[in-house]
Amino acid sequence: MWRGAAGRTAPPLRPPQNRNLFVTELVAGVSHGSVYALIALGYSMVYGILKLLNFAHGDVYMVGSFIGFGIITVFGGPLNLHVSVWLMLFLMFFCAMLGGGLLGVMIERFAYRRLRNAPRIAPLITALGVSFFLENAAQLVLGAQYQSYNAFSWTNSAIALKHFGLPAHAVISYAQVIVVVGAVVLMVFLTLFVQRTQLGKAMRATSFDREAAAMMGIDVDRVIVATFFIGSALAGAAGVFNGIAYQQVWPYMGFQAGLYAFIAAVVGGIGNLPGAVLGGLVIGLAQAFSIGYLSSTFSDAIVFAILIAVMIARPSGLLGRAAVQKV
């Protein structure tokens, strides 16, 4: 025992406790970051092709979350599920992704299509209008109350209730694991799609130079529709992930998530898909570590300060390439 100058014993350093905190923060940051990353992917994809900041994207995430909640209710509600949890999970993801994708396609067709050649600030306001509309229509139809997936109480379900410990005595829940694994799976699919398929190649070409792609015979409309569908489907899936891990759904949840995802997309280098993922993880980890080690009150402020520093150090984002300005 070490005796300090004042005669009081200093508490011995407890390595397991510190490692415990570290691992917990790490897992929390990665799982939160994965949700942000999925939404940020949609932002980046749309921006890459249309140079449009789709502020309504966060609300597609909200709609996906509600679709998942709807599926739970159809099957009896969170406390009285009468089907297998895995079947329900599959249905939730399928419907949320399909619903989110269709919603994204509808938004593009009716709100953004006419503004493709307009100055960039006009679609920004249109996106805000769509966002107002979606949030308040959701409040009108679904009510303003917080709804809960109550995933921890699903009968026959071990996913959110059980945990497995790590050597550092940290505990992570199955739900967090599902979120991270699911996000990774979706990102791998997306990468394969973008790199290996014809349509993916067309998307990359269109994001590089829209006019040249059109002249090469690529159907730009189809590519844009596909981009919106995929991006919005990812947001819908992110909504279901959020519900499983963090339970809450409510009409205004898209606003905050959309803001963070937008930040993630830009910090990673907007238009850049791996950058969006990296940006999401950076934000999630920065939040978790600043709450754990610095101050929970000012964690947001600290995260923003870190990000400002990152942006000044790398002005085109973490993985972005400096845009070549043609004269």
Binding site: Y47, L53, M106, F110, A111, R113, R114, L115, R116, N117, A118, P119, I121, A122, P123, L124, I125, T126, L128, G129, V130, S131, F132, F133, L134, E135, N136, A137, Q139, L140, V141, R210, E211, A214, V220, D221, F255, L259, F262, I263, V266, V267, I270, S295, T297, F298, D300, A301, F304, A305, L307, I308, M311, I312, P315, S316, G317, A323, Q325, V327
Partner: protein, 485 residues
């Protein structure tokens, strides 16, 4: 034809003059064209003075406190949009943290003129100090703009805005890195209350009317300054910076300095607006200066037309007045019906078709009402949301179920899909589909939307934003611009 029908084909090599030329050619015909030409000859300041005169007379027309308060709020928004116009409209820099300057000005005034720190400076001392401090803050925020372009600058300004809100929202227990005692700097979520009123030249500005006049005077002064700057060399330099920064730099225009000055000017104006906000509300809270307010200011600016002062005024009036007018269910219903009629008139030509569609809808409505009351009596026993002649007239025409929640919700979703579907059709089929869609719209309005005016007004504002931006992407009074490929 004034515009190509297919929006996805690129418009290669078209610039502003050509883009507006087709519109100009169409203007020359008829009485409306003549009126427009005469109006174009009137110098702009005459319009601004006319606006100032009308606004000054408002308190004479009504002593309704609410109207004057709405007028004051609109003037503050106009001032904010004017400042944002410099950064976004003139210099072309997307500033997503603008509202933090507003908050900084408001809190600055609050800290220097309230019991919070015991400091009660005279208004004529506080306001210049606050404005200059905000301008310096704007300069500091603009420093990264030398390295950052476009959306990256936008995101850094957004960070700054969020940083401001977080720090001020939690500023009741701030200590320097945990080493010193905790200080209550900003009051945290409880804000700073009991702020002094304005006190200048021996006048104590206490009443709502007085604040309205102060706001109007300040706004007109700033308007004059901005107008003069716009016509000066700096204004022209900003415009060239907005159009093509690289060319501007090659022309020897000090691009970096201009960016800093644009930010500083916008910030100073926002700080000034903030002091008036703080003085009237006598209390400030960080939540007032967050993204939703920023969104409203942006919507006003862009709806009115970025880069145009008249657009700023019009945009602010349209958005804020719409938001307030739509609070009352009675007014909202009138606006709804007028919008429906206006859309029909604007989109359907020749106008005899409008009469046909309206007649068809009325007949359809009576038919449906008769069928429903025969088959399901409870379907027509509900309450009309609107009173008066309109309400009693509608009772016999619209199906009003006694418990409209679920049916209303389903009908709302169907209505959205129906409206989107109608926009996809053409010709006779479209007009035929319009009849049940119109009836459905009025059904949903009566049963669901008018019953919840607070939610409906935001839905309506969202729809108006979407429709107006699609119809006129350059804003109401903005000039068409096309990006050069």
């Amino acid at each position: 034809m004034t515009e190509p029908t297919d929006p996805s084909t690129p418009r290669v090599g078209v610039d502003e003059w050509v883009a507006s030329h087709e519109g100009r050619r169409a203007h020359r015909a008829g009485v409306a064209g003549r009126v427009e030409r005469e109006l174009a000859r009137v110098p702009r300041p005459a319009f601004y003075l006319a606006f100032g005169a009308v606004a000054a007379l408002l308190p004479a027309f009504t002593s309704n406190g609410y109207t004057i308060r709405v007028g004051f709020d609109t003037l503050l928004y106009m001032l904010l949009a004017l400042g944002l116009n410099i950064t976004v409209g003139y210099a072309g820099l997307l500033d997503l943290g603008y509202i933090a300057f507003y908050g900084f000005g408001a809190y600055g005034y609050a800290m220097l003129a309230s019991p919070k720190f015991g400091v009660h400076w005279d208004t004529l001392a506080v306001i210049p100090v606050v404005v200059v401090a905000t301008a310096i803050l704007g300069l500091l925020v603009a420093l990264p703009s030398r390295r950052l372009l476009g959306d990256y600058l936008a995101i850094v300004t957004l960070f700054f805005g969020q940083l401001f809100v977080t720090v001020y929202q939690n500023g009741e227990a701030m200590s320097v890195l945990g080493f010193t005692k905790k200080y209550d700097v900003t009051g945290g979520p409880n804000g700073i209350p009991n702020i002094d009123n304005f006190n200048a030249f021996g006048f104590h500005v206490g009443s709502l009317q007085a604040y309205y006049y102060v706001a109007l005077a300040v706004f007109l002064a700033v308007l004059a300054a901005v107008y003069l700057v716009d016509r000066s060399r700096t204004g022209r330099a900003w415009r060239s910076l907005r159009e093509d920064p690289l060319a501007a730099e090659l022309m020897g225009i000090p691009v970096n300095r201009l960016k800093l000055v644009a930010f500083a000017c916008g910030a100073a104006i926002a700080g000034l607006a903030g002091t008036m906000f703080a003085a009237l509300n006598t209390a400030v809270f960080a939540a007032d200066f967050d993204v939703p307010t920023l969104i409203i200011v942006y919507a006003m600016l862009i709806l009115g037309g970025a880069g145009s002062i008249g657009g700023v005024i019009l945009g602010a009036v349209v958005v804020n007045v719409s938001l307030e007018v739509l609070r009352t269910p009675g007014h909202a219903t009138w606006v709804f019906f007028v919008l429906l009629a206006a859309t029909l008139v604007a989109r359907m030509r020749p106008w005899r078709w409008v009469a046909v569609v309206l007649g068809g809808t009325i007949a359809f409505g009576f038919a449906v009402h008769a069928i429903v009351s025969a088959v399901w009596p409870r379907g027509v026993h509900g309450q009309a949301a609107v009173g008066g002649i309109l309400g009693s007239g509608l009772r016999h025409w619209v199906v009003l179920p006694s418990n409209p929640m679920t049916i209303g919700n389903v009908a709302f979703v169907c209505l959205v899909l129906a409206v989107l579907g109608v926009t996809l059709l053409h010709g006779r089929l479209q007009k035929l589909a319009l009849v049940p869609t119109l009836y459905l719209a009025i059904f949903v309005w009566e049963n669901r939307l008018a019953v919840e005016p607070s939610v409906t007004r935001l839905i309506l504002v969202g729809v108006i934003l979407i429709v107006l931006m699609n119809a006129r992407p350059q804003g109401l009074l903005g000039t068409s611009r096309v990006e050069i490929v």
